[in-house]
Every structure is written in C-alpha cells, then in structure tokens.
C-alpha cells in the first residue's frame, strides 16, 4: 500500500519536476561551480564518482590547495591559497594522512614505507587518486597481485589477513543489525550506543593496522575487538530478555481488555 502511494506521488511529481544534476549529493557543492574542473575535466569526472566527493564532502582544494571558486587561474593558484598542485610522490602519504591518520601511522610500520623506492606503492597506488572508491577487502585481491602476482607466500598471507578481517566485519555487521533492530523497541539501549561505537572504533583500528601488513599486530587488535563485541552481545541479550518480558506484559494487558469487553458484552446481552 505504502509502495503504491509512493508510486502515485512519484508519477505526479515526475510531471512537474525537472531532473537536475543527479551526481551532486545533497549538501555537496556542484562540480559545475568548481573552476578547477574547467581545465581538469577528466579528473573532475572521476572525482564526481569518488567517495571523497559523494560522501566525504571534499573538493579539489583539500588535497591540492588553491581556491576552487576563483575563476582566474593565477589567483586560484596563488601562494596564499596554499596551492601545492600535484603532490610529490614522497608527500602523498602526508597529504592523505591529513584525514586518514590511523592508516598512515601503520603504513609507516609496514614493508612499503620507503617512498623513495619507485617499486614501493603509495596510498594512491592501491586506492587511486581521483576516483577513490570504498576501501574494501577485495581491494587486496587485485592490488597486491599487481606486484606480488607470483609470490605464493605473500598470496597466502593476504588471504589470511582478509579472512580475519572479513570475520571481524561480519561479526560487527551482525551485532550492529541486532542493535538497530532492538533499539526501536528498547529506549535504554540508545544509551548504550557508545559500546557499539567502541567496537566499531576498534575495528577501524584493525583496518588501520592492515596497512602495516603485520599479522601479529592485526591479531592483537582483533582480540581487542572480540572483547568489545562480547560486551555488545551481553547488552543485546539483556535487551532481548527485557523485550520478551514486555511481550508477556502486552499479552497480559490484552487478556485484561478481552476479559472486560467480554464481561460487558455478556451484560449487554442480558439487558
């Protein structure tokens, strides 16, 4: 019924509404208003689809400096705008670490840290520069193999890391789903949202540690994560128990209502 209603409204609205730029997410600046994309349109097209634009609310200036709303090139790239242009290879990690501090910290502990070695990857080698997409575990399937395609030991190590992380992600996903479904029935659970956020924060640390590619480091973080998940689990079990009790209370209430209504009905019939 709701779907039908929505469809009717949509059809009506479609008649009166012209579709505007569909790639601009709500609240984000349209790229048509960003002067950089007039010349750097290829980069602009890629950036429009990236998570940095779609969800991160970033613009060119966040990595390259400059004034994206200044139409005059010289003024847009003036020194006082903090313009740095294309970051040097050695500076890429520093640019990304302005926001991604955790991954950068652990990347520095890993085997790829020497940026002067042209064989070593930087952030953009795996995550791309303008078309930055969500960093998922499948990213490792393709990116590691580019350089280590023949190395079986590295392949197995990557698989082990992926497996551990996948299990952890799944476990967070399932407690989060349980939390969300129970939260609407349990006002007190909202107060405990911090415990769930704690587990998610620990998993983000696990994700960050992946950049060091050190299995021991990852396992330690996963053990911490499991403790957090257990705490969430305990809360959710208690909430489920309270919900069961409330269901019984509802049954009691309706028994009371039905008994009284029946009594009145009998009285009415007797009149």
């Amino acid at each position: 019924m709701m779907r039908f209603l929505l469809l009717v409204i949509l059809s009506m609205a479609a008649v009166v509404s012209a579709q505007d730029d569909v790639t601009t997410p709500p609240g984000q600046v349209p790229l048509d208003d960003v002067w950089c994309t007039v010349c750097h349109f290829e980069q602009g097209d890629k950036f429009a689809l990236s998570v940095h634009y779609q969800r991160g609310m970033l613009l060119c200036t966040d990595c390259h400096g400059g004034d994206p709303f200044e139409p005059e090139t010289e003024k847009a790239k003036a020194a006082e705008t903090g313009f740095i242009g294309k970051p040097a290879r050695a500076d890429i990690v520093a640019v990304c670490s302005q926001c991604h501090t955790g991954p950068a910290e652990f990347f520095a502990l890993g085997p790829h840290t020497d940026a002067t070695d042209p064989d070593n990857p930087t952030c953009v080698t795996c995550h791309q520069n303008h078309l930055v997409v969500d960093a998922t575990l499948t990213l490792m399937d393709t990116t590691c193999a580019v350089c280590h395609g023949d190395d079986k030991a590295i392949g197995q190590r990557v698989q082990r890391i992926q497996r551990s992380l996948r299990d952890a992600e799944q476990s967070l996903h399932s407690v989060r789903a349980r939390f969300d479904s129970l939260q609407q029935f349990d006002a007190a659970l909202g107060r405990s949202a911090g415990v769930l956020m704690g587990a998610a924060a620990v998993l983000r640390q696990v994700d960050a540690r992946t950049h060091a590619l050190d299995e021991e480091l990852i396992d330690t973080a996963i053990a911490d994560f499991e403790v957090e998940v257990e705490a969430v689990d305990k809360l959710l079990n208690a909430s489920e128990q309270s919900r069961r009790r409330r269901h019984w209370a509802v049954a009691g209430v309706w028994l009371f209502v039905v008994a009284n209504v029946t009594l009145m009905w009998v009285k009415r019939r007797q009149m």
Binding site: L10, A13, Q19, Q184, V257
Partner: protein, 390 residues
C-alpha cells in the same frame, strides 16, 4: 452507600440534580448509532491517561534549559517505570489526534453538527485546537535537538506576518531566540493553561452532547424524535446500553496505548544545541501539512492557513453545510468537498514527510527535495541473469 447519599442529600438537597442526571444519561440513542459513535469515549479515556501520565511526569521533569534534557534522561533510565509513563504520554499525544480527527469525520458524515447542535461542533473544533496546542507546546519540553530546532522553525513562521508578526513571536518565545524563557512559557501553557481550557471545553462539550442527545438522521426542519419514538425505532438508552459499548472501546484504546508504549518506547535524541542546526528538522506528523504548505505559498499565506482552517471548520454548521439534510447519502456534494480537502491536506503531509529524505522504491533510489519532489539518485540495477548479460 445509601446512607452516605442521604447524609449529603439532607444537607445539600441533591435529589433534583440526581434526577436531572439520570434523565439525561437515560435518554435513548437513535438506532443508527454504531461503534463509530464510541470514538468520543476513547478520546475521554486517552485524555484522562494524558492527565495522569502528565502529572506523574511533572514530578520528575525540570523545566529549565539546563535541566530539562537531563530530567527526561532520568525519567527514561532511572525512575522506576518512568520510560513506560513517558512512552504512554508520548503515544497518547499521537493517538488523541488520530481519534479526534476520526471522531470529527464521524460527526461530519452523520450530520451531527447540524441545528440544534452547532455549538457542540464549535466547542469540538475548539477542543481540537487545544489538543494541537498541547502537541505544539509539549514538543519542546524534552529539550533535545529535534524539539529545540523544530520549535525554532515553527516559531519563526509567525514572525513573517506583517506588523504583528515579530511581536507575536517575541511574545510566544519570550525573547528573540528560543531559550530558557521559551521553555518556561511553553511548560506553563502545557501543564496549566491548556489543561484548564481542555477541562472546561470538554465539560461543556459533554454536557451539550448529553443535554441535546445524539442526533438522529432526520432533516433539521423536521421535529427531533421523542424518546418514545427513539425507543420504538430500536434505539437503546444511553446508560447502560450504549455506555457499555463506550466502555469496551475505552478498554481497547487503553490496550492499544499500553501495547504501543511497551513495545515501542519513546526515544530521546541529542541534547539541544542552539549552535548546531541538525539536518531535516520536521514538526510532529499532524503539523506536516502546514509545514509543507509554507514551502509552496508565501509565508504570510501559509502561516494563516492553519488558524483559517480551524475557523472554516467552526463555520461548517453556520455557513458551509447549512442544508436541512443530515443523511450522508443526501449530502454527497459537501461530503465530496470534505473528502477532497482532506485528501489534499493528507497529500501535503505525505510530501512533508518525504521531503529531504531518500528512499529506494522498486530498486531505484530517490532523493526527495525540500518541496517533496523526487530526483533519481541511483537507477535500479537489473538483477536477473538476462540483465547482467546485457
């Protein structure tokens, strides 16, 4: 019990009053009176529950900007059964509006507002205004982000009225910004002024309903049926016959209210922060049509619409549906007009609800803009093998 009555009667001579009451509550109701005629009783029950839960909440609630949110948190998490009391109060506020509207629809369809019952209808519309007033003032009291900013938006609208607008707003909120003074004013109106108004109007409404009896379906230019005629036509005395029906509906209303409160407890958001405007602030669902209308028409028109609508509702028996017919089958035009107006208001409400949200419908993701118009964000992806092969 009898002796107690005699004790009072000897001193206060209550017997004539008792006889008057009995005469009025035993008046028969017409034969067409069905379960829809018990909605008023459900309203009495729900309003009474609001009074009781409201008084209990007042014990712990603190109406200052510094303490309000914390006191609501204490009610939800620390006071024994506080969460249930607040949830019942919260759900009650929604159910009252729903039942009041259904009750009004019922009275309109059966022509119950027509001569000589115009005053009952007018008092009923005033009661609806009071109920909406409760909703408006009660919304701010939790002092969370949604409550605070919802009130900021709602109180900004009257400011657009020429000449009196800014003064009206200042008087409403007690200054130029929604702050402590606003909370104090809204609280006093919510727990003192409106309850008195409600009790007075409700008393008058009930006295009128009983005194004049429930309307028949006869034309207004025909004489009202006598009790004997009502009996002969299959009508039963209001008490105890119809009263038992009323009581059954009251029990069901209570059951629905407690069920909702137990299974879907009220929530509280983040504490109010006057410096941080959250996204997608919206009023309660019953104010959504007015909220959405403000986006389509000049503010001065939009702001005047809700009070104008209440005024038009009051004028229904005096200037809008003045034909002598009561039977809905013989008032098709006016009923069609009522239904179209209601559908438009409902549509405005739906658009208000959808505005500034995203929804996936049949696999396609839409973003509904401020006006409630949909824009495709993400096209549906063909999931069948055939689709993938293409």
């Amino acid at each position: 019990m009898r002796r107690l009555w005699l004790w009072f009667d000897e001193r206060l001579h209550l017997e004539p009053i008792r006889q008057l009451l009995l005469q009025n509550i035993r008046k028969p109701v017409p034969a067409h009176v069905n379960w829809l005629f018990t909605l008023g009783a459900a309203l009495i029950l729900l309003l009474s529950v609001q009074m009781v839960t409201g008084i209990l909440l007042m014990v712990y609630y603190k109406a200052t900007g510094r303490e309000a949110f914390a006191s609501i948190e204490a009610i939800m998490y620390e006071v024994p059964l506080g969460w249930l009391i607040r949830s019942a109060h919260n759900w009650g506020s929604h159910l009252i509006v729903i039942v009041a509207l259904l009750h009004m629809f019922r009275v309109f369809f059966y022509g119950g507002f027509k001569k000589p019952r115009e005053l009952t209808w007018i008092v009923g519309v005033a009661l609806l205004a009071v109920i909406l007033g409760f909703g408006f003032t009660g919304y701010l009291l939790p002092w969370d982000q949604v409550a605070y900013w919802g009130t900021v938006v709602a109180t900004e609208a009257p400011a657009s009225l020429p000449v009196l607008g800014p003064i009206t707003r200042e008087f409403m909120i007690g200054g130029t910004e929604v702050a402590d003074a606003t909370l104090g004013r809204f609280y006093v109106v919510h727990v003192f002024l409106l309850p008195f108004l409600l009790l007075g109007l409700m008393g008058l409404h009930l006295v009128l309903v009983r005194y004049q009896g429930i309307s028949s379906l006869r034309r207004t230019d025909e004489p009202e049926p006598t009790p004997q005629e009502l009996h002969a036509g299959g009508g039963e005395p209001f008490f105890p016959g119809h009263f038992l029906k009323d009581s059954a509906t009251m029990y069901v209303a209570l059951g629905v209210l407690v069920t909702l409160a137990l299974l879907y407890p009220a929530h509280i958001g983040e504490p109010a922060d006057p410096l941080l405007t959250p996204m997608g602030i919206k009023p309660e669902w019953y104010f959504l049509p007015a909220y959405q209308l403000l986006k389509y028409v000049p503010e001065v028109v939009g702001v005047n619409m809700p009070p104008l609508l209440l005024l038009v509702l009051m004028l229904v028996p005096l200037a809008i549906d003045i034909s002598p017919e009561r039977h809905p089958g013989r008032r098709r035009r006016v009923i069609a007009g009522w239904m179209v107006t209601s559908a438009l208001i409902f549509l405005l409400g739906i658009l208000g609800q959808l505005s500034e949200t995203s929804s996936t419908i049949f696999g396609t993701k839409y973003h509904f803009d401020v006006q409630g118009m949909p824009h495709v964000v993400q096209e549906a992806v063909a999931e069948t093998n055939g689709g993938e092969a293409e």
